[in-house]
């Protein structure tokens, strides 16, 4: 009897013990199960590729030869990237385009958004904003193809307009130089290619910034303007001393997006140069374009992975500089 009761006792204790442990385990696992769709997608499509590309950047790999053909080469890919003239050229182009395409975007968007908010009401304003937003939601490839035709030297509408302007009665004098330089090869000269690309970017993204800034101007309380008016501010002073400082967080947000976006610029230059290794003199070769060229056209995946990490470092440095100088003020905003 004693032995059996002794046997029973631990069994009784053990039974609820195991069950509760399972229950506890299940309890702690259930949340993981519920977030697993995200986790799986994140691991497969974000974490793994990220890790794999670090690994890849130390290998020499021609993808066509299969996974087994990878060869460890240490830092060779990084070292050869550092003295790669096309990489530096592409980074220079990227920075050039970042400035040339972004500064006009914001200089145009801020006043337009201000005027829209100040002078138009409700539906009309929404109509205008929506119209200006359309370029942003149009496919980049489609936009770039249209601009490719617009820029066409002999048949493009841009050159035809310039010619027409030169024969107009009053302003013709301003454009008298046009017939002498025709046809202007917007995409066929290395010094015209970058401005041509920058213009497409400006056209496409200004509307997006107008939307952001309109939202910003709408947050400003009417009382502030009224107080300014009482103090004798004219319209310009209301804009410069009241409205503009108030939308600082919005400027910070829009500029951050612009910086990241322009450092990843790919489709516009790719389509406008017909995918032809960056156009004349590689003037349209941006960093991500070059990355694509090395990896997919030249089949040097290891080198491409190394370049992508160099590009990552570069973006990180640029955005942290931007955050350091503008972040505090930008994020403080109205408070």
């Amino acid at each position: 009897m004693q032995t059996s009761s002794e046997e029973k006792l631990p069994r009784k204790l053990e039974k609820p013990g195991r069950a509760s442990r399972i229950r506890a385990l299940r309890k702690s696992l259930v949340p993981w199960f519920f977030i697993s769709p995200f986790l799986i997608l994140f691991l497969v499509f974000n974490a793994f590729p990220l890790g794999f590309s670090i690994f890849l950047s130390f290998q020499e790999w021609n993808p066509v030869a299969g996974l087994n053909s990878m060869k460890f080469v240490g830092f060779k890919n990084y070292l050869s990237a550092v003295d790669d003239p096309w990489l530096w050229k592409s980074i220079y182009n990227t920075v050039w385009l970042a400035f040339a395409a972004n500064i006009p975007q914001h200089l145009i968007a801020i006043p337009i958004a201000y005027l829209l908010v100040a002078s138009l009401k409700g539906t009309v304003r929404h109509l205008y904003t929506a119209t200006m937003f359309v370029p942003f939601i149009t496919s980049t490839v489609a936009v770039s193809l249209i601009f490719f035709t617009i820029y066409s030297a002999n048949t493009g509408i841009l050159n035809q307009w310039l010619l027409a302007l030169s024969t107009m009665p009053f302003i013709g004098g301003l454009f008298s130089w046009v017939p002498d330089v025709m046809p202007i090869r917007w995409l066929g000269k290395s010094d015209l290619l970058k401005p041509a690309i920058a213009f497409v970017v400006v056209w496409k993204y200004t509307g997006f910034n107008i939307v952001i800034y309109s939202a910003g101007f709408l947050t400003i309380s009417k009382d502030l303007y009224d107080a300014a008016k009482v103090d004798g501010c004219n319209a310009w002073q209301q804009f410069w001393y009241v409205a503009l400082p108030m939308i600082r967080p919005f400027i910070f947000f829009a500029v951050t997006l612009s910086i990241i976006g322009s450092l990843q610029l790919f489709e516009e230059p790719y389509v406008l140069t017909s995918g032809n290794s960056g156009g004349v003199g590689q003037a349209g070769l941006t960093a991500s374009y070059y990355l694509y060229l090395v990896g997919w056209e030249w089949l040097e995946m290891g080198q491409a992975a190394a370049i992508s990490w160099i590009l990552f470092l570069f973006i990180a440095v640029v955005t942290s500089v931007h955050f350091y100088f503008n972040g505090r003020k930008g994020l403080e905003g109205n408070q």
Partner: protein, 411 residues
């Protein structure tokens, strides 16, 4: 990079299923599907146990997909088409069946094919990996009405590059361009006058040829045409290019036999009868494009795939059918005696152009594809050439810069 790895992962999962036993899949790009629609029923009638389907992607995507298939070792078709521009990079990677091996015995077919095309399908180890299925014998297309307008004689025009340029000067007075893009002349010279035993950009030992006489002559000839204002600076495959053909503002175009199909079907159908073809200027023979068929080592039904490749390339029936349906010029020499070759071609004013194409095909000398060709083409023939032509960079300086870039990548 992240994007490409995602692409790699997705395509791996998408195509992981592969072909079912007995079925073979053909991977290629349009218009091959039109050709296959005609010949698959003929082949299946003879081989009742084999079922063939195909997967077409556009030219660029097809080669990108094939790259991911090779990288991951899964998802490629049993028979894959490879463009001549990619064949050197692909077949030397080791992912394709050695068709010279005992299982296939491709070497027995060698004599039946146009020599240069056969050589292009060889790997660096001397074995056959790709079997050519079509070729693009190079010719000069010219407008007969334009030529008549200046009382020109075509044989005189194509004597050498000087006489060709002289013709251009006469045309300029009438406001007609000699050629759409002077760069085509440079490409023609570079690709067609390769010294025996050399590759296009490298010699046998992998030394660069980029600053050699051939490249200098090519670039300088193109520059002469550009500087004299004889070309339209019009890129290929743009609306301006098609407009030039339609309106007769461009007098000549150097290209492959396949351009004929494009011209008469959609680029400039209304200009029928106003065109003719001749040999390339300066007595050179060259080719524009061409396609190869290969079997990936990952394929499941290799024996059937090989039978189908043999049917597509080494049977007169399939080769002539391709000529008729998609204008792909045959690579099988015995077809040149076919009646189809004697047919006058209406678009070319009744010229028996196929005889000329065949003559050109037999005279082209082989250039073996090499590993660095893809990089070299980007760096030299798009990069350096446009800098010389569009930006006025010095020829030798441009070639030296290109060579330096090239060698630090290829070595």
């Amino acid at each position: 990079m992240k994007k490409s790895l995602i692409a790699l992962a997705t395509s791996a999962s998408l195509f992981a299923t592969g072909a079912i036993a007995g079925d073979i899949r053909f991977d290629g790009w349009p218009d091959l599907d039109s050709h296959l629609d005609t010949v698959i029923p003929l082949f299946e009638a003879k081989n009742a146990d084999v079922k063939i389907n195909y997967q077409m992607n556009d030219h660029g995507d097809h080669h990108k997909k094939l790259t991911t298939n090779m990288a991951t070792g899964t998802g490629a078709g049993d028979v894959v088409a490879i463009d001549v521009g990619f064949v050197g990079s692909f077949i030397n990677g080791g992912g394709f069946e050695n068709l010279s091996g005992e299982k296939y015995g491709a070497n027995d077919l060698k004599t039946e094919f146009v020599d240069y095309a056969w050589t292009q399908g060889k790997g660096l180890d001397g074995n056959q990996y790709g079997i050519p299925y079509d070729i693009g014998p190079g010719v000069m297309y010219y407008r007969t009405d334009v030529l008549g307008g200046v009382d020109g004689d075509i044989d005189q025009v194509i004597t050498d590059w000087d006489s060709y340029i002289e013709y251009g000067k006469k045309l300029k007075e009438k406001g007609i361009f000699l050629i759409a893009d002077a760069g085509d002349v440079a490409k023609t010279i570079v690709f067609t006058t390769v010294e025996p035993g050399n590759g296009t950009y490298f010699d046998k030992d992998g030394n660069s040829l980029v600053t050699s006489e051939r490249f200098v002559t090519a670039f300088e000839t193109a520059k002469r045409i550009r500087d004299a204002g004889l070309d339209g600076q019009i890129g290929s495959w743009t609306n301006e290019w098609y407009a030039g053909f339609k309106e007769g503002t461009v007098a000549t175009q150097l290209s492959g036999a396949w351009l004929l199909g494009h011209l008469q079907n959609w680029m400039a159908p209304d200009t029928s009868g106003k065109w003719a073809v001749s040999n390339l200027p300066d007595g050179i023979f060259g080719s524009w494009g061409g396609g190869f068929l290969a079997i990936p080592t990952q394929a499941e039904n290799k024996a059937e795939a090989w039978e189908f490749i043999k049917y597509l390339t080494a049977s007169e029936e399939a080769q002539i059918s391709a000529l008729k349906t998609i204008g792909a010029f045959p690579v099988l020499k015995s077809t040149y005696a076919d009646a189809a070759f004697d047919e006058p071609i209406e678009f070319l004013g009744g010229q028996k152009a196929r005889l000329l194409f065949a003559e050109v095909a037999n005279n082209i000398s082989a250039v073996e594809p090499q590993k660095g060709d893809l990089i070299a083409e980007d760096v030299v023939m798009s990069g350096a050439l446009t800098e010389v032509l569009n930006d006025g960079k010095d020829v030798m300086a441009a070639l030296k810069d290109a060579e330096r870039l090239l060698m630090r990548r290829v070595k």
